[in-house]
């Protein structure tokens, strides 16, 4: 796939090479290839279109100095634009309140429970907090066991109630337990749910309403395709979440969903998951994500050779 993209862009950039300024004609072919590359990277169709139109407008009529080729100039415009779109600076988690309540939400299998464990470890070792993990998934077989095992691995407290099937009740009990136990951050894991499931979407809205969390984090798989925009929007409509967590970035997906989500809900991406182990968590870097989506390593080396 990458070789393919490189070949295509190579061809497209040839059209630009050696020309004095960027014109409608010499930029059109390149934009077409870039749009295809974005779609292959799972950037949403409309987002990709808007992005290439924007880049084209910025590029048109720009005079190319002797030192740079049109291709180089275009690459820079594109990279700057995408980095800006991905959100300027790193957005920290708000954990000032005592206790701070953090609600975790997302589709089935996105990586919520794993992230909950990772976040507890992160807050413990980097922010010197005493986190409590609350097992609010009453549906998935062995979800409670899973959270307990992870809590054990990271050395965090955990609250479970195996008798109850009411996530609102468990969440409130968890907060009460945490206050008594001196936990200053309370992380509530929830069951995976699809946005078409009204009952489950209502349920998590109720958990939010009852617990009044400072942070609501939407956990999403980096491999998600075009549906990412619908899902992010549906969760945001119900929960008005405060941030996004992008998981499984240790794979080879280009992760275009990140751009789509950002452009449709405009909420900061706060963390990325980079593995199954509890320490495989990074803060989000917009510039790295931008070059990943563009396959920018390729593009830059390509322009340098031009």
């Amino acid at each position: 796939m990458f070789d393919n993209l490189q070949d295509k862009l190579e061809g497209a950039f040839k059209v630009l090479k050696g020309q004095g300024s960027i014109t409608e004609i010499n930029v059109a072919e390149t934009m077409k290839e870039i749009r295809k590359a974005l779609l292959d990277a799972d950037v949403n169709y409309k987002t990709a279109k808007a992005f290439t139109d924007e880049v084209k407008q910025k590029a048109l009529g720009q005079h190319v100095l002797t030192a740079v080729s049109p291709g180089q100039l275009l690459t820079k415009i594109m990279n700057d634009e995408l980095t800006a779109l991905m959100g300027g600076n790193v957005d920290e988690l708000n954990v000032k309140a005592n206790p701070t309540v953090i609600l975790i939400a997302g589709l089935n299998g996105a990586g919520k429970t794993t992230f909950s464990g990772k976040l507890a470890l992160h807050l413990k070792s980097h922010k010197h907090k005493k986190p409590l993990l609350v097992a609010g998934d009453v549906y998935r077989p062995a979800a409670i066991d899973q959270l307990e095992v992870l809590a054990g691995q990271v050395g965090a407290d955990v609250y479970t109630n195996r008798e109850s099937t009411d996530p609102v009740k468990i969440a409130l009990e968890g907060i009460a337990h945490g206050k008594q136990n001196g936990n200053n951050v309370i992380i509530i894991d929830t069951a995976g749910r699809l946005t078409l499931d009204d009952a489950l979407m209502n349920e998590i809205a109720e958990v939010k309403q009852a617990t009044q969390p400072q942070e609501v984090l939407f956990v999403v798989d980096a491999m998600t395709g075009q549906d990412a925009v619908n899902t992010a929007k549906a969760f945001n409509d119900r929960l008005d979440f405060t941030g996004v967590v992008l998981t499984k970035l240790d794979g080879d997906t280009r992760g275009g969903a990140a751009l789509s989500i950002k452009s449709v809900v405009n909420k900061p991406i706060k963390f990325v998951g980079t593995g199954e182990k509890m320490d495989a968590l990074d803060v989000f870097h917009p510039d790295r994500m931008a070059s990943r989506i563009l396959g920018m390593g390729d593009v830059i080396s390509l322009v340098e050779r031009a």
């Binding site: 998935r140 077989p141 062995a142 499984k248 080879d252």
Partner: protein, 297 residues
């Protein structure tokens, strides 16, 4: 009531006020396919075929265009050359061994639970091997599914050697005269060489107990996955000779259009679809029904 946006409703919007299929309409078709994760290359192929068919005609209305697009998508799936599976009965081998593989969180364990239930209902004796010994509480999860479906689960607990669990499972399946053995494996990303090699090892060990096993290597794909599913298909096939696909989470807004692109590139049949979290939420894949659901009848 919320329903999935169907191709038909989108096509209707695209052709409203148009008298012929012009570039704008073709662009709209492209958008419809790409936004269903069909992928750029396969989309262009389908749009080109549609274009060829309508070029001669002057006027095409919504339902005609809808039918043409539907026929072309269906035709593309048919070119895969695989007949849809008709039932949950596997009698060509005993035990019939199924190894289930895929990236993290796609629904492998759940699919196994549902499949065990279906097979049991079809009168088969089933055993499950808990060879995901890595993910937290993976063994407990599959044991719970075993209890739900009322089938035996062989396990050696967490951190055991997965190949050894698979070996044990097949040995006891032979001893017990079970008809089907299903092996759960840990989720793994296809770019991790060590983990992919582990799969080959599990597979090889099984052949020592049951020659020709595993008969079915089932790659589970999540319907909401985008173009990375193509790479998953490629890498897992290289490592383990995948010969069947399952598409999960089709009860959501994602339509799983990526399997159209996949069937254009790989000749691996989709065998099962997952349509919910309950034990009964597994169906055999049917091309016509799949295309119907994309197009909204």
């Amino acid at each position: 009531e919320k329903t999935k946006d169907t191709f038909f409703s989108k096509i209707s919007k695209a052709v409203v006020g148009k008298s012929t299929v012009d570039d704008d309409v073709l662009d709209e078709l492209e958008e419809i396919l790409v936004t269903s994760d069909v992928g750029v290359a396969t989309t262009l192929k389908v749009v080109e075929r549609v274009q060829k068919r309508v070029a001669r005609d002057k006027y095409v209305n919504t339902s005609e265009l809808n039918n043409i697009l539907r026929e072309e998508v269906q035709a593309l799936l048919e070119e895969n050359n695989s007949a849809d599976f008709q039932n949950f009965n596997y009698t060509d081998h005993k035990p019939y061994v199924i190894m289930v593989v895929g990236v993290n969180g796609v629904g492998k364990t759940t699919t196994i639970g549902k499949l065990a239930h279906q097979l049991k209902a079809a009168g088969q004796k089933v055993v499950i091997g808990a060879a995901d010994t890595f993910r937290a509480a993976a063994v407990e999860q599959i044991q719970l599914w075993g209890r739900r479906a009322d089938v035996r689960v062989v396990s050696q607990g967490m951190n055991a050697d997965p190949a050894s669990v698979a070996f044990d499972t097949l040995q006891s399946a032979v001893a017990n005269g079970e008809d089907v053995a299903i092996i759960d494996t840990a989720g793994r990303l296809h770019n991790k060489v060590g983990l992919m090699n582990e799969l080959s090892k599990i597979k090889n060990v099984m052949q020592k107990v049951v020659p020709g096993a595993p008969h079915e290597i089932l790659l589970v794909l999540d319907a909401s996955t985008g173009q990375n599913a193509v790479e998953q298909c490629k890498q897992f096939t290289q490592a383990t000779d995948v010969n069947a696909l399952a598409l999960t989470k089709l009860d959501g807004t994602a339509k799983g259009g990526v399997v159209i692109g996949i069937s254009d590139q790989f000749k691996i049949p989709v065998k099962y679809i997952g349509v919910g979290e309950k034990m009964t939420d597994l169906q055999l894949f049917n091309k016509k029904e799949f295309v119907d659901s994309l197009f909204g009848k």
